[in-house]
Amino acid sequence: MAPAKKRNVSSVKTAEKSAKKAKVDLSKTVERILESRKHANDVFDILESLQAEQEKEVIGAVAACSELFCALLERKELFLGKLPGEEDALSGGYSAEDKYRIFMRHRYTSCVEILLEHLSHEQYDIKESAMCCLMKFAAGEGRHPLEDLDWSEHYSFPRELIQALVDNLLSKATDNSLLISRFQEFLEMEDVRYYVMSSIRDNVGKVMDKSKGAVVPVYQNNVFTLMSSISMPNQESELTNFMVKQEGFLNAIRSSATQEHKRVFERMWLGFLKYKLPNSMYKKVLVILHDSILPYMSKPTLMIDFLTAAYEIGGAISLLALNGLFVLIHQHNLDYPDFYKKLYNLLEPSVFHVKYRARFFHLANVFLSSSHLPVYLVAAFAKRLARLALTAPPTALLVVLPFIYNLIRRHPSCRVLIHKPSAEDEPFEDPYLTDEEDPAQCRALESSLWEIKSLQKHYHPDVAKAALLINTPLSEQEDDISETLEVTTYELMEKDLKQPEIKSVPLEFETATRLLKGRGDVLGQHFCLA
């Protein structure tokens, strides 16, 4: 530690005081080192406190380091070019000036190493300050490159430093999402983002190859968090925010900056998605896919493999993959064979119960809005949905029923599903084949929507009313289902609970005497009070 230090150990607030004092001392030490070279050996004190136990001391040391080495970088007092070993430096024929620089350069390297280690420290504050410090170093190095420059325009960016930072950020053991969200602020700078993206790709390739295709949830989660926090610029004009001077960067990536950005972005995502993902990760990726990934890819069609794979998985993931597929089909002329058949097979009772119900029905509405679809297909969808409606909760029913009505409205030849006067008298069995996978073979057109007839007896008044509509010819106007897509059960309940004025509530006229007794009591048949 620094000399001339008299500690008052007896005091109660020793720790705090000492921390404060240490800070003051550290800044003094930094000043001293910067003042004259004879105090150069004090740098070891700083490095020592950098590895201390106490959080405050470490943070103070980090601050001191960043001050010291930034200043040294500024003064170009760090050795440039290929660094000789420490022993070589002592023995080799270097001038005193060079020796000093080599010494300091070595200290700088060790400091960076310690800081990188700190990135996986358990204390968040230390992680954060270490990261900030490293970024400062990166900025300093960018301005005053440590490599020998062959020609003056040569652009140099501290790639190694960024690469090391990213490698440590994407930890395999701990969830770094908090730190990554802090890192997001640096990602706003164009050059940092560019190099971070390429570093991620390298890192992912390395790590996943090592794991040989197995899933690494924590790591992949970190990667996803980092990647999803990258927000791409929309236009070239926006490329204004740089960490290192601009011309150099633009020269380094010769072609159009946005194009290059997009290419790197795309390669990063493809590199990530090419490996096997945990199911929850599929959902996360698919949720943001159409919004914040596809638009920034130079060749969105490259995603087709991933989307197809996701679509094959089934369940909620297929539903989500639908969205990405839709964008590809709609905007990029993707030809997807048997799309409707697959969509038809996606329809199973669980679609009404999953979280992404609203999104699914929104998309299904878009897919089925074309009036050029064959009648058999639309009828199959309508019948299938009606059949599934028998197990659906009321909130879903309030979406599905108008949905089916809209299908029938768009395709008037489907009206036979609810109005078949020719076969009015003779009763027949429902010819619809539930298990048939091909909508063309399921004989939906020969059937009728008896399910909706059944739902007219549904317990919820709104559903019953909606189901009653098939008793009369449907109106011309299509129902807008977008309003009911997101309705929750509680909102439905509130409609009854929050009625402004209830005039005379009907009451049960049968006198209640016991809890489990009375007309139509079922509970009492199976349960008793005690």
Partner: protein, 862 residues
């Protein structure tokens, strides 16, 4: 031009002398405006015009106005009338005259009468001195009054009001001057009338005098004969007759005022009573059905609380069941046998009690009364629930005509026990309670009492704070309902839950709910809303939620007890059903407790829809899921399990038996409701028993559902998974005999329903009538009115039209004015010329005479 005005003026002169009728009858004066067609019932003022009359009128008017103006033209001097208010048009002429008069008086007074003390001007009325009149010299003949009652003649009015003077004077004037024919005849008529009446009067007077003379004469004669006659005086009879009449009157009056026998209610035969009962129930049932169908509620028709004509609006509710009226049957007390068929718990004590109660004084103090009731009960040793009968008797005493007795629970306690309890209660409990102000008050009040006593306390609180007793009581009791609900919730959350206390409190809750439906609805809604809201929140965070706790299950059950579950839409039961469905879809089953909760919810669900037979998909889903839990081999299912259940997973074997041994020892027992909260089953046999019980409950519910939804068109599709489950999977497993039977029954029921359906068609509608091509005829009732425009447009049209007419009229008037003026000017010029001519002639004449004279003089000189 020069001639015409002369002619006209001559014609005007002639016209002036003639009466209007003469003019009208003169065909030369009349111009008839030809009508194009006749309209019945229309009166036109303009069919006959009198051009001459109107022209002369116009000319006269112009002479008075335009001519004067013309004459005044270019003159500086002007005649100004300086009389007071002469040019003030705003002043009424009477005011003017009055003001002028006072001013003159003042002027005169100032000058002359400064020293005049006494002398005043004489006041007159129609020229007669008022001072004279005040002496009333001319007294009206009083003889006339008797006969002339109600007759009004001109003379009479004249003499009475003095107003006839004008008439009289007019008459005098009329005699003098020669007026119109009509005026003359009228005056003559009046004169004739007066003469006639005078003559009559005179004649009548003469007659009367004669009659009086005759009677006097008769009296004289009678007195002479009287002494000769026997003294049989009919006059005495007459005198007695009068008091007799009065007596009769009095009697009549007395009879009228005497207390009549009050028309009592007709004593009803048991048949009538039963019929009434049935009708009332039928009405309520019809009401319920109507609400179930979701028809629009007709105002007034559905008021749940039936007010009888005698209702004092004191919250006393006439119960539908046991309206007993004091009735005789074959000369004996009718002891209410008719009720026995319905409720055997209805006993004779109740009847006897009520009859006794009727005898008791209604004005008695409440507390005393209650004590008395207690004693009575003790004496009778009734087996009723003490608190409840207390409540009843109280109500009975309040309203003697109608007794209420809600159906009593079956005797559960022996007589001795009840008696002991009653005594204990009598020793401990006060009879009045203040209504609790807060929930804690209620808790304090009920703490440490047995459940029966708690109920008694609540009942007495309710009694002693009856809304008819004080103003604020209604609010207090409404609050009490909320507190009670909260208390029920708390009882249910205690461990172990005190469900029997809740059970005891149910009648009180029901009674309060009947009293204040709105408040009860609000309280229940807030409970449901809170529970649903918290569930929604956990769902948003976690995606699934825990099963509702026991208090919520109890609340749901209480809701079913208090409110009709069959209504198409009900402010309480609809949300409650939604809550059940939400819980059944979103709460994953992870333990046997969860499953028990789920089955409780299912039973409640079945209960809610059992009357209306509404379709509750979540119920079927849950039952399928439950059955799925019991399937051992989860491969090749053949049906789809709906969330919250999973086809396979950690908790998908909850109901699979650990050993088939337990099947033999198992027998059906009711599960305690507390099993939804905690379940300690240490060993496998216990667990298996519980599993089997759950399974049997589930199967029973499935069976009920089968019966409920038998009529749904998609019945087979709805029950397809259950059928597959039962016939393919569960039948292969070893299950106790009753369960096997149950499941085979269900499979039977499902497969026996017809699978064929007739195709859907729209409802038959009334055919839309063809378009008819006959013209539409609109009856026009007001000709000349513009139609088919808005009010503003019509107003604008009207104003435009008016303006046009006025403009034309004004133009015509101006033209006439200028024509008139031109004529006048011409007249003037001609008059002037004629004057000049005359003067020249005169001059020439005089000159000629002068010349002649001079010549003659000259000749004379010569």
């Amino acid at each position: 031009m020069g001639k015409a005005p002369k002619k006209r003026s001559l014609a005007d002169k002639v016209r002036k002398t003639k009466t209007s009728s003469e003019i009208k009858n003169n065909p030369f004066e009349v111009k008839i405006n030809r009508k194009k067609f006749d309209v019945l019932g229309r009166k036109s003022k303009h069919d006959v015009g009198l051009p001459g009359v109107s022209r002369s009128k116009a000319v006269n008017k112009r002479k008075e106005t335009l001519l004067k103006e013309y004459k005044q033209k270019n003159r500086c001097s002007k005649f100004i009338d300086r009389r007071f208010g002469e040019y003030d048009t705003k002043m009424a002429p009477e005011d003017k005259i009055l003001q002028r008069f006072t001013m003159e008086r003042q002027r005169v007074h100032e000058k002359k009468d400064v020293y005049n003390l006494n002398e005043e001007e004489e006041l007159t009325h129609y020229g007669q001195s008022l001072a004279e009149m005040e002496k009333f010299n001319d007294v009206v003949n009083s003889d006339d009054e008797s006969e002339e009652k109600g007759l009004l003649s001109a003379e009479l009015t004249a003499s009475h009001f003095g107003g006839g003077g004008g008439l009289l004077r007019k008459k005098a004037l009329g005699e003098e001057e020669e007026g119109g024919q009509r005026a003359k005849s009228r005056q003559e008529l009046i004169e004739e009338l007066i003469q006639k009446s005078k003559q009559e009067k005179r004649e009548r007077q003469v007659q009367r005098e004669e009659a009086q003379e005759l009677t006097e004469k008769l009296d004289q004669d009678w007195k002479n004969i009287q002494s000769l006659m026997v003294k049989k005086t009919p006059k005495a009879d007459k005198q007695e007759e009068k008091p007799k009449l009065e007596e009769y009157d009095m009697m009549v009056r007395e009879l009228g005022f005497e207390m009549k026998a009050q028309p009592s209610e007709k004593m009803k035969t048991p048949e009538e009573l039963a019929k009434e009962e049935r009708e009332k129930l039928q009405k309520l049932e019809a009401d319920r059905l109507r609400r179930m169908m979701g028809e629009e509620v007709v105002e007034g028709a559905q008021s749940q609380i039936h007010f009888s004509a005698d209702d004092l609006n004191d919250g006393f509710i006439l119960d539908k069941h046991d309206k007993k009226t004091l009735a005789y049957q074959d000369g004996k007390w009718n002891m209410g046998e008719e009720e026995e068929e319905e409720d055997e718990a209805e006993d004779e004590e109740g009847e006897g009690e009520s009859s006794e109660e009727q005898e008791s004084d209604a004005e008695e103090d409440e507390v005393e009364e209650e004590e008395e009731e207690e004693e009575e009960e003790e004496e009778e040793g009734s087996g009723e629930d003490d608190g409840h009968s207390d409540l009843e008797s109280e109500q009975e005493s309040e309203n003697e005509e109608e007794e209420e007795a809600s159906p009593k629970p079956k005797k559960t306690l022996s007589k001795e026990e009840v008696k002991a309890q009653q005594e204990a209660a009598k020793a401990e409990l006060p009879y009045t309670f203040a209504a609790p102000e807060s929930y804690n008050d209620l808790k304090d009040m009920l703490r440490g009492h047995t459940s029966d006593n708690q109920r008694l306390i609540v009942a007495r609180t309710q009694k002693s704070n009856h809304p008819s007793l004080a103003v604020g009581n209604k609010l207090k009791l409404q609050k009490l309902f909320g507190f009670l609900l909260e208390y029920i919730g708390e009882l249910a959350t205690r461990s172990p839950p005190e469900l029997s206390t809740i059970d005891k409190l149910i009648p009180e809750v029901y009674a309060l709910c009947q009293m204040f439906p709105d408040a009860a609805c609000k309280a229940m809604q807030s409970i449901l809303g809170d529970a649903a809201h918290s569930m929604e929140e956990t769902l948003e965070v976690k995606g699934h939620a825990a099963f509702p706790t026991l208090d919520m299950l109890i609340y749901l059950k209480v809701t079913a007890l208090l409110f009709p579950t069959s209504d198409f839409r009900h402010p309480v039961t609809t949300p409650a059903l939604l809550f059940i469905s939400q819980a059944l879809t979103k709460c994953p089953v992870r333990s046997l407790q969860d499953l028990t909760s789920g089955l409780v919810l299912c039973s409640l669900g079945v209960e809610y829809v059992s009357f209306s037979k509404r379709f509750l998909p979540e119920l079927i889903n849950f039952l399928v899921g439950t059955l799925h839990l019991a399937v051992q081999d989860k491969a090749s299912l053949g049906y789809i399990v709906v969330p919250p259940f999973r086809a396979s997973g950690k908790y998908s074997d909850l109901l699979v038996l650990s050993s088939s041994e337990s099947c033999r020892s198992w027998s059906k027992k009711s599960l305690p409701l507390s099993a939804t909260q905690q379940l300690d089953l240490e060993n496998d046999p216990d667990r298996d028993t519980h599993r089997l019980t759950c399974l049997s409950t589930c199967l029973d519910l499935v069976k009920r559902c089968c019966l409920l939804y038998k009529d749904l068109p998609s019945f087979t599709h709805i029950f397809q998974p259950i059928r597959t489950l039962l016939s393919k999977h569960l039948s292969t497993q070893t299950l106790p005999e009753p369960l096997q039977e149950l499941s085979s029954e269900i499979v039977e029921a499902i497969s026996s329903t017809p699978v064929t359906q007739s195709a859907l068609v729209f409802d038959k509608r009334k055919p839309i009538p063809l378009k008819l091509l006959t013209p539409k005829i609109v009856e026009v009732l007001d000709y000349g009115k513009k139609r088919g425009s808005t009010r503003e447009e019509r107003e604008k049209e009207r104003l435009k039209h008016k303006y046009k007419r006025e403009f034309k009229g004004a133009l015509r008037e101006i033209r006439k004015d200028s024509r008139f003026l031109a004529r006048e000017k011409l007249n003037e010029v001609m008059n002037r010329d004629a004057e000049r001519k005359r003067k020249v002639k005169e001059l020439m004449g005089s000159l000629a005479t002068q010349e002649g004279e001079w010549k003659s003089l000259k000749r004379k000189k010569k």
